[in-house]
Amino acid sequence: MATPIEAPTLDFSSRFPEGVVADERKGFEGYIVDADKLIEFATALRDEFGYDYLSSVTGVDYVAEEMLEVVYHAYKTIGGAGLVYKVQVARDKAEVPSLYDVFPGADFQEREAWDLMGIKFTGHPDLRRILLWEGFDGHPLRKDWQEAYYEADVKPFKSRWPEGNFYRSEEKVDYKANVKYPGNFDPEKWVPEGEDALYGSLAKYEDTDTSGLKTDHITVNLGPQHPSTHGVFRIAATLDGETIMNMKPVMGYLHRNHEKIGERNTYLQNMPFTDRLDYLSSMSNNFGYALAVEKLMNIEVPERAEYIRVLMAELTRVQNHLFAIGMFLNDLGAFFTPSLYAIEERELVLDIFEMVSGSRMMCNYFRFGGLARDLPEGALTMIRGLAFERLPRKVDEMDRFLSDNEILRSRTVGQGYLSAEDAIRYSAAGPMLRASGVPYDIRRADPYSIYDRFDFNVAVRQNGDIFDRYIIRLDEIRESLRIIQQAVEQIPEGPIQTGKPQYQVRVPAGESYGRVEGPKGELGFYVVSDGKANPYRYHVRAPSFINLTAFGPMCQGLKIADVVAVLGSIDIVLGETDR
């Protein structure tokens, strides 16, 4: 394992004599900032200390202390370890200044924290619910909120053994009792205020038309059932003719409160649930979660297991990018020929996953301190065959097939532009950030596992348009193949698990944030443990979700037909966006 870079010890006492103190709870790190100093502090971090990237914003409900805590993770785009800072407010008066003006990337994440935890961000220009619907009662991630099929606070449930007489939850909860409405709420008479608020927030655009022609703006909804959204996703846009004036994504149709489920689960039970976030790259999800919990448990991973982890994570990237390119071409109108070419190769990678983990997509392969099982016989030969022979040839073929195509180029070159500054401001991650010319890749910037041993380049492209977001994925596949080639050559024999496999792990109290460079960008898991068998707080920094923050601004001024192309180039998976 790479020695983790020490968290920087910065001295804020001279710059902030008041209002910023170090977090001294055992197992915790970072700084606690007064709510009224927050904006000043965040601005200073960005402008004076170089922490220009706000990666994650989330909340924790410390119900026993009557306190809500907002947790911020900041990074430098030149690399290095991160910095955590927190704001603590009373539970019944949860108001925190919004960081929207300093980091617009906080936009969706603050809305999420409002939606799920009930933290009000004052000064946020559009603080509406984002994952749940406007008529929803309460804020589900608060510890005292209970779902309709509530059975107990934590698993395992007592009703399963030794007197486990089978029943279904819905048999115990009457029809209609499985939805709770706020007081005075009549679903029959409800007018969706949220829709008005949504359209209202779109209408803020000011007309600068000087031609003297009287024109109207119209609002158009794309989705939620739209073939190009690869799931259930809606875009509400105001148009002037065909040109997008303003646009907002609407999501949450696939929301299941993954985080609440996660807090009911034991640590191990969460592992297969992470598969279902970005279901195209379950190995990476496993990886991030395992890292976060291993950090808390302070355990090492054996050499061989590290190599297998890297192999699996890179194969995941290869197949994810192939699929992303294929589906992106579908969105552009190249109906299914490129995507089926891509899927052929992906199938071969999935064959390996199936052989190794038992499942093609829901791999559930990582364990704390190692892996579920060793590679079966023949797996390495298969990986070798793909990494050395087939895939390099096929990536070149893909390149030849598509990259010079004039139609593709004219639809993508120069369109959907995102500048490097904006990419950072909007907390874009992964290929999206790198296609805008920011060479930030966690495998290099803050290496985890054994990535510091491999020779590879961080793929960067400079133009920040749709075409670069396409071509960078081809670059990344090539670099991943290089890593795989080195890893299969170097992989040692040995154990694949530290200690005995356990179904009930002991996790000391504290917090940790494990992040990996997933195929879609920075995938982070923030875990708070109180020493019990279940995580006290479990949060996922989902790249598919946060990358959408820049989607609206990127589309301004484009024709409506190009929205689909821009969305395809971001590469989202709704399982992760909506969680």
């Binding site: 698993k155 395992p156 449930f157 009703s159 399963r160 053994w161 030794p162 007197e163 486990g164 007489n165 089978f166 279904r168 689960n265 034991t266 191990l268 039970q269 969460n270 592992m271 297969p272 649930f273 020929t337 070419y341 052929e344 199938e347 071969l348 064959d351 199936e354 052989m355 190794v356 983990s357 038992g358 499942s359 829901m362 559930n364 579920a372 099982r373 079966p376 298969m382 065959g385 793909l386 022979e389 087939r390 073929e397 030849r400 097939f401 598509l402 990259s403 010079d404 195509n405 004039e406 139609i407 593709l408 180029r409 496999p501 179904y503």
Partner: protein, 204 residues
């Protein structure tokens, strides 16, 4: 020249189109509906048509493939002996909590007997994660290979439906089975050796 890129791309498609026939000719009738043909179509050397003609053709599943657990019983001279001791570990580890077990207790003493009185798995809830079989200390619950269980109704398995013989397990997971059998044998031998040593000591 405008259009050169498109032509280049079309060249790739054309090559693939021709390759399909070339590959078909090379295999001459053996490419489809034969095990070798199927293996070729899902290998790194595959070219041409990838498609598998399901359900006439089925891809063989690898040993580790997992789908809905079943309970293993041993066929002995005295009859079928279920391996499960109703220890409850699988019910505790199951992430969506879809296993229900009723423990048997001795009607006279009330003490627990190591066999389940009832065992239910709600297959509609099961997420096929395989954790139950991974952490069962008695190799009593294993993941199946049979994935064709789609139905119009709900699928809930009781004890009877879940039971499958150890020979079936050995057939679908030969490598795992032989490792486990060897471990069990070693354990039994160690136990027997210990007992023999104790007996020898007592005889002295």
């Amino acid at each position: 020249m405008y259009g050169k890129g498109i032509l280049k791309g079309l060249g790739v498609t054309l090559k693939r189109f021709v390759n399909t026939y070339v590959d078909d000719l090379k295999w001459l009738g053996k490419r489809y509906y034969t095990a070798e043909g199927l293996a070729h179509r899902s290998s790194k050397d595959a070219s041409g048509i990838f498609t598998v003609q399901y359900p006439e053709e089925k891809l063989p599943v690898p040993e580790e493939f997992r789908f809905i657990p079943f309970l293993v019983y041993d066929e002995t001279e005295e009859g079928n002996e279920i391996r499960c001791t109703s220890c409850g570990i699988c019910a505790k580890v199951c992430p969506p909590q879809c296993i229900w077990i009723v423990r048997t207790s001795d009607p006279k003493t009330g003490r627990p007997v190591p066999a389940p009185a009832d065992f239910t798995i709600d297959a509609d809830i099961c997420m096929n994660c395989g954790l139950c079989s991974e952490y069962c200390p008695f190799d009593a619950i294993k993941m199946d290979h049979d994935y064709e269980i789609a139905s119009y109704g709900r699928t809930v398995y009781g004890l009877e439906d879940l039971m499958k013989p150890a020979s079936y397990y050995a057939e679908i997971r030969p490598i795992n089975n032989s490792i486990e059998e060897a471990a069990r044998k070693a354990k039994e031998e160690a136990k027997a050796a210990k007992a023999a040593a104790r007996a020898a000591k007592a005889a002295q």
